[in-house]
């Protein structure tokens, strides 16, 4: 994929999301649907992003590497770093406006839309390889509950999935 086009895809996903993993629906739509990336690569990127250090949103660096090598990773890093920084000049110029209720409502509306899209994306990932078996559905439920509760490190949750996959997935 052309590096500039790849950068635009990552920048759009970052600029139109709220929070780390919320860029996933847009990235999946722009990369998996056209065949530029596979769902397996998306799963790898999410898993590595949760195991690695730094914000959750750094999974896009992993995805950038898988799609475009070192250049793809660098472009993804830049695309992930720039949009959040618009808050710095806006805060300096219009802090009161930022805290006004229409802005808060807009952010809340985008967050709720993103939540719905994330559920749809999660369902899509679980079903990506065809109809999931019962143990895979159980793993999805376990992953949901453990992540929501936040009592276990994500790396341990992923390790549980890998261990069950090794035992039952062959």
């Amino acid at each position: 994929m052309d590096p500039l086009a790849l950068f635009v895809v990552f920048l759009k996903a970052s600029a139109l999301s709220l929070g780390g993993l919320s860029s996933l629906p847009l990235l999946r739509a722009d990369l998996v649907a056209p065949g530029i990336a596979t769902d397996d690569q998306v799963v790898q990127a999410i898993a590595i992003g949760r195991i690695s250090t730094g914000p959750n949103g750094l999974y896009i660096v992993s995805l950038g590497y898988l799609v475009g090598g070192a250049i793809g990773a660098s472009l993804a890093l830049l695309a992930a770093s720039l949009p959040p920084l618009v808050i710095v000049p806006i805060t300096a110029l219009a802090r009161r406006w930022l805290l006004a209720t229409p802005v808060a409502g807009l952010v809340r509306g985008v967050a709720l839309a993103t939540a719905g899209l994330l559920v749809a994306t999660g369902i899509g990932i679980v079903n990506a390889s065809g109809t999931p078996s019962l143990w895979q559905l159980a793993l999805a439920a376990i992953g949901t509950v453990l992540t929501y509760r936040g009592t276990l490190h994500p790396a341990i949750v992923i390790a549980i999935g890998a261990a069950v996959g090794l035992a039952l997935g062959r």
């Binding site: 710095v88 409502g105 749809a120 999660g122 992540t147 549980i160």
Partner: protein, 152 residues
Amino acid sequence: MSAREFGEAWALSQLSPGIHLVALAGLIGRRAAGWRGVVAAVGGMMIPAAAITVALTAAYGVIAASPVARAALAGVAPVTGGMTIATAALLVRASARHGRAHLVIDVAVSLGFVVAATLLGVPTLAAIGAGALIGAVALGRERPTSRESSVG
């Protein structure tokens, strides 16, 4: 910076697009040392973590095609799907602090977008635009407090 300044920077960072921790680092960096502080704070947080992420991705790439890795991925995939769904729940969870009615509205609106995306095939970008419009017009009664949200 004082605890109050940090709290305000946190609240403002939750309004930013993209990774909120980048926005928080940028706001703290600007407060500490101007635009050079922004570059230092964001670079210091992102570059080492990105390098580790790339190294892990490259290391996994060596074994990605092996039968063992494929079997493990069959278990990791549903877990990451579950993690994605949990992230959605975390986005909505902050509403619980504003009372039951607030939570019911947020859950109902979110479920509406699940239906729109899964059953009606509404494009992702259109859904986000609709969410922004609905939020600005009808949901702007309270300022969001996302301290509880752990979505990065």
